[in-house]
Amino acid sequence: MFKWFGKVNFSPYTKVAGFAQELRDGRLMASRCKACGATSFPPRADCAECLSGDFEFLEISGKATLHTFTKIVAAPTGFEDLAPYTVGVADLAETGRLLAWIGDTIAEDEIQIGMDLQVVPRIFEELEEIKVYYTLEKPGTAWTKTKSSA
């Protein structure tokens, strides 16, 4: 169900497809190698350290700090209706980095490199099909977690 991830999705089939279902249910997942314990965000099925293909998802807090950002004014095909939008790269508290839109809880003039952030799972409410994503918000921003439908 990785086709759910992103307004425009370019890679519907992946070994970490379960990520999108978890995100729909309000959980942000990294990956952990069952063989050597190496963690990764973005998640990866095949361990970059020991090459094992045996992995599991690991729920992470979504606590992060802003590494860098840009407001995109000239948008590519498929995103023109959203422009301008601000994209941030965030250092995650537990592991790795994440790229996402900076959300509504943060005003443009408040954005600063080094600021604390919360990654929040989102569903595109205005679209008919299921489309999930995440945004970078102020710490403490609430969101709904539901039980897995599986």
Partner: protein, 384 residues
């Protein structure tokens, strides 16, 4: 170890070339290079095409170029590593000659971009970023380099003025290059008034999409000495990579592929950054030239902003950089760009660069980046 020499160069006019197909553009550069080398078409043993196929309606470009140049049945093949495809083509030609498979090889970088709309190109180029986790947020090519620029400004105090001073310099020299798309000087004030693209970048921070072609003819040391009056030698050939995803890079203030490619090239040529008199570097965005000064060792990490502010990259400074106008003023027909860089450095080392000639140019360098530093090729070139 035997050397590989450049015996001929050709360069078409870059720009919106509504008058020509991609193979017609390739022909202009190829004919010029043959004339420059003083050889016949039959002397070419093979051709290598540097181009990015997604921009063309014609599938499998080498076939149509080879036919139009009239070089059948000689072998041809394509190299593709995004914006570094041209330098990759030169590298494979160099490898073929080093291996003794071919003696004289034509390398043609060619690209026709303007048949696509700007949003289509933004979408295509944005997908040189990682598509699974990044492009889903509508990232663009300028946006990626903007992320680097913002971080560089944060860590080192690099300023907007310093970034745009790169554009001012490159337009200054582009005005002297008859092959450049933009042949007009710009002022800092004018650059600051231009529209936002991806903050902090405005239009004048970005190179322009363009159509164009460039050609170099490479030969074995023996053939080069026989054919060329002033051969220029490809003495250092560095090539390195970095992660596709910027999320997996050690930092966002430099390109590790450029640092590694430069190290390999300097070592192979037995020179250092202090020996380089003239360089063509990959200024797809203003910050990219500042990263290049640092990654190539022209100055220390973090001092690239001051390097341009102090005019160290102008002719007469520490090292003349992009005195053909760079991607910024020449335009960036992606497959042609790497070859165009080599053409310019050959001109400089032969002393044929006219009013933008760097005096005593004996060692030159090219730095051609693919994507957002996923690939980097560095060449060190020398004259006799």
């Amino acid at each position: 170890m035997s050397r590989v020499g450049i015996i001929g160069i050709g360069h078409g006019v870059f720009g919106r070339r509504s008058d020509a197909t991609v193979q017609e553009l390739a022909f202009e550069a190829f004919r010029d290079a043959l004339e420059d080398a003083g050889i016949a078409r039959d002397d070419i043993d093979a051709s290598v095409i540097g181009s990015v196929p997604e921009y063309h309606k014609q599938r499998s470009l080498p076939g149509v170029v080879q036919e139009y140049l009239g070089v059948n049945p000689k072998p041809t093949w394509l190299t593709e590593v995004a914006c570094a495809s041209g330098s990759a083509a030169i590298r494979t030609a160099w490898m073929a000659i080093k291996a003794g498979v071919h003696e004289v090889v034509a390398v043609i970088g060619c690209q026709k971009m303007t048949e696509l709309s700007t949003p289509e190109i933004l979408g295509l180029m944005g997908r040189v970023g990682e598509v699974q986790w990044e492009s889903v947020f509508g990232t663009t090519f300028p946006a990626y380099y903007a992320l680097f620029a913002r971080r560089h400004m944060h860590e080192f105090g690099t300023t907007r003025d310093q970034l745009l001073q790169v554009a001012v310099k490159n337009h200054h020299y582009g005005a002297m290059n008859p092959c450049a798309l933009f042949r007009k000087e710009i002022t800092l004030e004018k650059a600051k008034e231009s529209e936002e693209v991806a903050t902090p970048f405005q239009v004048y921070d970005c190179c322009a999409n363009a159509d164009g072609a460039a050609c170099v003819i490479l030969a074995s040391e023996g053939a080069a000495r026989e054919i060329a009056k002033k051969p220029v030698w490809l003495d250092g050939m560095g090539c390195a990579t970095a992660s596709m995803s910027v999320l997996r890079r050690p930092n966002l203030v430099g390109l590790p592929s450029a640092v590694e490619a430069a190290r390999v090239a300097y070592e192979m040529a037995e020179v250092g950054p202090e020996d380089v008199k003239v360089a063509d570097v990959h200024d797809c965005f203003t910050v990219a030239e500042i990263l290049a000064y640092e990654d190539l060792g022209f100055c220390k990490k973090g001092e690239g902003g001051r390097f341009i502010a102090d005019r160290q990259s102008y002719i007469g400074g520490k090292v003349a950089v992009n005195v053909d106008g760079g991607l910024k003023a020449k335009g960036h027909p992606i497959g042609a760009t790497g070859v165009s860089m080599t053409v310019e450095i050959v001109k400089q080392l032969r002393g044929e660069a006219g009013e933008r000639q760097v005096s005593d140019a004996d060692v030159g360098l090219t730095h051609n980046v693919g994507g957002i530093g996923q690939y980097c090729f560095v060449q060190v070139l020398r004259r006799d």
